[in-house]
């Protein structure tokens, strides 16, 4: 299955389209929150329920991205079986739940699982 990539907006299309798309659909939706924070930083209570909800949705979204990248992965990662991709995540998660300061170790162990497993399965 090769999905069709999102096509440029016709009347804005041209050689500079990728730059325009980056600014309109990635830079602006990201930067706006930093600007708003500067504008309102003296007035917003960082512990208010609204911001707690925002933080929860943002956390869930990030976790959702992780799951999507593992279940329907890009490029070469798709050549590795699903069970191994999930296994690498489980190794990382297990180490992090054991000791939450071991970010580097958890990342390296997850990577070692994936790369080692891929060599063993695909060789």
């Amino acid at each position: 299955m090769t999905p069709v990539i999102t096509q440029p907006i016709a009347w804005l299309d041209g050689p500079l389209w990728p730059y325009l798309a980056l600014v309109l659909f990635a830079v602006l939706p990201t930067e706006i929150w930093r600007w708003l924070a500067v504008a309102f930083s003296r007035r917003i209570d960082p512990d208010s329920p609204a911001l707690e909800w925002v933080r929860a949705v943002a956390t869930a979204l990030l976790a959702g991205i992780v799951a999507k990248l593992i279940v329907s992965p890009p490029g070469a990662l798709a050549a590795v079986p699903l069970a191994l991709r999930v296994g690498a995540l489980v190794v990382t998660l297990a180490i992090m739940l054991f000791d939450r300061r071991r970010v580097l170790l958890a990342v390296l162990a997850g990577e070692a699982t994936l790369i080692g497993g891929a060599y063993w399965l695909l060789a």
Partner: protein, 240 residues
């Protein structure tokens, strides 16, 4: 390392650079290798990949942007998903700005400082800045954050060209670095059962929504449902 009040701005910035190179700059640098390859997959030029690192400066937003284009999502859906993924910068920036604020500081300087707010610079900044004398913090933070941005730009550039040339297990390993690093840093930031619920529900709901909701809105729906349930499950404010 400790920073003395008497040091010049440059020396303070160098201290920030050195602290960044002690580990964090390498972690983010490696984490953005995958973004380079995602940009290449959709046929965008390498300049756009590197610019996305410098201008967006948010790994998850960049991944959503390029991966959604690869999946054929609507532009409106991409902008909303990126916007929601970056919403956390609002509370994060609100939390870190008071540490960097100086009397007479211009709005432009605050906008510049806010631009560097992302997971790594923020967590490390909150941890390290209180130990830096207030007049030195801006120089220290800029030294630290710009070093992270430099290694990340190099990582993005390398990823763009490297992934296709590597044996499959290593290419797969680099592409898997993004989800693995995200999961690790999400878990590192766990504060209570609401956060744990948000992570678990997000992991489970996203692939389900992916199957049943089209048009590229699946991620937003999954995030809103999972986040709202997690919000309801958070411990009520008893102890501050």
């Amino acid at each position: 390392m400790s920073v003395s009040v008497e040091w010049s701005s440059w020396r303070v910035a160098l201290a920030g650079m050195r602290d960044a190179l002690s580990l964090p700059a390498w972690v983010v640098g490696f984490g953005l290798i995958g973004v380079g390859s995602l940009a290449r997959d959709v046929g965008y030029p390498v300049e756009v990949a590197v610019l996305s690192t410098m201008l967006v400066w948010a790994g998850p937003s960049q991944v959503i942007f390029f991966a959604s284009i690869a999946a054929g999502a609507a532009w409106s859906a991409i902008a909303i998903a990126v916007g929601f993924a970056s919403l956390r910068f609002l509370p994060m920036t609100v939390a870190i700005l008071p540490l960097l604020r100086r009397p007479g500081q211009s709005v432009w300087m605050q906008l510049l400082l806010a631009h560097y707010v992302a997971v790594t610079a923020w967590t490390e900044g909150l941890r390290r800045l209180p130990h830096v004398p207030p007049p030195q913090r801006v120089a220290y933070f800029l030294g630290f954050a710009n070093t992270c941005m430099a290694t990340s730009s190099i990582g993005t550039f390398l990823g763009y060209y490297l992934i296709g040339a590597l044996p499959i297990p290593f290419a797969a390993g680099l592409l898997c670095l993004t989800p693995i690093f995200f999961l690790a840093s999400l878990t590192a930031g766990l504060r209570h059962r609401g956060d744990a619920a948000a992570i678990m529900l997000g992991l489970v709901l996203a692939p389900i929504c992916d199957r049943f909701i089209g048009g590229g809105f699946d991620l937003i729906v999954a995030g809103l449902i999972a986040g709202t349930i997690a919000f309801a499950l958070r411990p009520k404010k008893a102890a501050p």
